[in-house]
């Protein structure tokens, strides 16, 4: 907790990010008013359901939005780079951005098979960023690739470096993409659902690996996931997204123990929990289910986006989008009624 009290060395600082998609009839706002910071050695989890905007946020930071469709309409994305300089990624040219990706920012995606090229060997692909960003020769880059494979726990690294992606298991492939992401010692690692396609015993391995590597290297990590269990396992702080906005943010233990937004409360309650479910079943209790569905981008409510599904909503909730309120210095919620709700549920 003490380490969290003092502001850590900020690596990523996103302010007022708004990303829009252009469609024939105009613009759709996919994410809005996103503020995020991630410090060195810190993991921030961005959690939300399909369509909440968590991936659009991470793609915006990497500037990997589909050109001509997705566009950053407002905000800044300031990154502290390896040379100590701070750049606003939003204003960088595509050419400069290419120097940032893979060098200052490492990226790991959900599906290791689609982020690896099937016609190049694992070693070639890991050494590519080292050759491009560091100007290393082929031999030196390949040696570095082999030691990276070793450091991500791939046994027999020399032989594996000569193999093609299809010769590796899903877990091994994800280890290889992590090695690729770390090849140039980035200050920030963005991991977008890196364990979602993996079996649970392999997921446990990859989470432990990411934690170990982060600790060793002191990287900042932005971890995008829909899985609240994974968040509790890996992250220091969490930002819960709903319908394109952050609705609650704070230290993971505090937010999960005392959620202050009805959506976070609902999400936590609707997850069946090991060891508890049989007791609930025997007691004839139902799993809490949030009624209704996420609103579409085309018909966003005028006020709080969660209001139509919220059991605590009052008249004024649908008038304007609530601002983020301070629960304390580290914990914010986008709920007008958070104080009354805490009293109502007796926390």
């Amino acid at each position: 907790m003490d380490t969290m009290q003092q502001a850590p060395d900020t690596i990523l600082d996103v302010k007022g990010l708004r990303t829009v998609f252009r469609i024939r009839s105009g613009e759709l706002t996919a994410v809005n008013a996103i503020d995020l910071t991630v410090g060195a050695g810190e993991t921030l989890a961005l959690v939300g359901e399909s369509g909440s905007g968590k991936s659009v946020t991470s793609l915006s930071v990497m500037r990997l939005l589909t050109r001509n469709i997705g566009m950053i309409a407002a905000g800044t994305v300031r990154l502290k780079r390896k040379n100590g300089a701070v750049s606003d990624l939003v204003s960088l040219s595509e050419r400069e951005m290419r120097r940032v990706r893979g060098d200052d920012i490492g990226m790991v995606f959900q599906e290791p098979m689609s982020s690896l090229n099937p016609v190049y060997t694992i070693g070639d692909q890991i050494s590519e960023p080292i050759r491009i960003h560091r100007g290393a020769d082929r031999k030196a880059a390949m040696d570095a690739a082999v030691s990276l494979l070793d450091s991500v726990g791939i046994p027999d690294a020399v032989r594996r470096a000569g193999q093609y992606p299809h010769e590796l298991s899903g877990g091994m492939r994800q280890r290889a993409t992590i090695a690729m992401a770390l090849a140039c010692d980035p200050t920030l690692l963005i991991a977008d659902e890196p364990t979602t396609a993996l079996d649970v015993t392999i997921q446990a391995q990859i989470l432990a690996l990411l934690q170990k590597l982060q600790r060793e290297r002191g990287m900042a990590m932005l971890f995008v996931t829909h899985n609240l269990g994974v968040v509790a396992q890996i992250a220091h702080r969490v930002a819960v997204m709903y319908a394109g906005r952050i609705v609650e943010t704070g230290p993971v233990a505090e937010v999960f123990r005392n959620p202050r937004h009805p959506y976070t409360m609902g999400l936590l309650a609707s997850m069946p929990k090991i060891g508890e479910a049989s007791r609930m079943k025997q007691a004839g209790k139902k799993l809490y289910a949030i009624p209704g569905m996420v609103p579409g981008l085309m018909n966003m409510p005028k006020g709080c986006a969660f209001e139509p599904r919220c059991q605590f909503a009052k008249q004024n909730c649908c008038e304007a989008v609530p601002p983020l309120f301070d629960v304390n210095r580290h914990h914010q919620t986008r709920c007008n009624r958070w104080r009354e709700i805490s009293d109502e549920i007796g926390q």
Partner: protein, 317 residues
């Protein structure tokens, strides 16, 4: 336990691929009582979907017996099997791939009845409307198309399709895995209510042990095509007997910030079915394996009433 409605004995499935023999399932035996919900859990390649499909003969088993309400299914002719199928239905994982985009919801829901020659076409539509009500969808959905519905609604339609034939037995294959948490809870509650209110017997396939605990009375844990453990849900989650079941349970990350975080992490990968380990198939990753585990294929033995495990290490219990 009540008299089994479904009784599976020594079920096996082999494929031959480029001259190598792949054993997908080996010696699978279990019973499901009338009105019981049994969970099949395991990771990729454990054979859970193959078991579900073999039971309904959507894939043909290579060995063993499947008895449903006293009738041996594996030897039935295609037309006899078709006459049995209305009593046994399947709910698929992917709510997008399992509904035809060209058919109205009414056509999708009544197709089975039509093939079986049950009722007149207007009666069939009434049954479709009733099935939609059972899954909390508006009856007028019959005239709409699948693309007009969200993922959660489509999964409800998939469930309604299984219900129109008024089956006694349902195989639900990862029915909530493709859904978001908040929608998943709605469908889980729906499935449990239907199972209890209609007295359905269910084989529930999932990789998510928490969902299985909530829905199922008993759980079968699979690894690489073999049964590792069978136990009543509450007992399995309180005290798993097999080392794999223990590891699987401890690998699930808990959202509870106060939960202990010393999960026991299994080393290595799930072996390939083309080249399974000798002896116990789990021994290559088992933290408790002994040299003997490479020699002996452990039998599934009853350790306590209703509790079975396939592990030679009885000294651990």
């Amino acid at each position: 336990m009540t008299e089994p409605l479904l009784s599976v004995r020594d079920l096996g499935k082999h494929y031959t691929s480029r001259g190598t023999n792949l054993t997908i399932l080996h010696g699978i035996s279990f019973d499901i009582g009338k009105g019981e919900a049994v969970g099949l859990v395991g990771e990729s390649g454990s054979g859970k979907t193959t078991i579900g499909r073999s039971v309904l003969r959507l894939v043909e088993p290579s060995a063993g017996s499947v008895r449903f309400d006293g009738t041996e299914l594996t030897t039935l002719s295609e037309s006899e099997m078709r006459r049995t199928r209305p009593r046994m239905q399947y709910i698929f994982q992917d709510p997008f791939a399992s509904l035809s985009p060209r058919m109205t919801i009414g056509e999708i829901l009544t197709e089975g009845l039509k093939i079986q020659g049950i009722a007149t076409s207007s009666e069939r539509m009434d049954r479709a409307r009733k099935a939609l009500e059972q899954v909390d969808l508006p009856p007028d959905a019959v005239s709409r198309y699948a693309h007009e519905f969200s993922g959660g609604q489509r999964q409800r339609i998939g469930i309604a399709r299984a219900l129109t034939l008024a089956p006694e037995f349902i195989v639900a294959d990862e029915p909530v895995s493709a859904l978001d948490v908040s929608i998943q809870a709605q469908v889980i509650n729906l499935l449990r209510d239907l199972q209890q209110n209609l007295g359905l017997t269910m084989l529930f396939i999932s990789h998510d042990l928490a969902v299985v605990e909530y829905i199922c009375d008993r759980v079968i844990v699979l690894y690489l095509g073999r049964i590792m453990e069978i136990a009543p849900s509450a007992e399995l989650y309180a005290k798993p007997l097999h080392p794999y079941a223990r590891a699987l349970l401890s690998a699930i990350p808990s959202p509870d910030p106060d939960a202990p975080r010393e999960s026991q992490i299994l080393k290595g990968d799930i072996p390939s079915v083309a080249n399974p380990p000798s002896g116990c198939v789990f021994r290559t990753r088992c933290p408790l394996a002994l040299p003997a585990c490479a020699q002996i294929v452990p039998d599934l033995r009853e350790m306590a009433p209703g509790r079975f495990k396939a592990c030679i290490r009885d000294d651990l219990d």
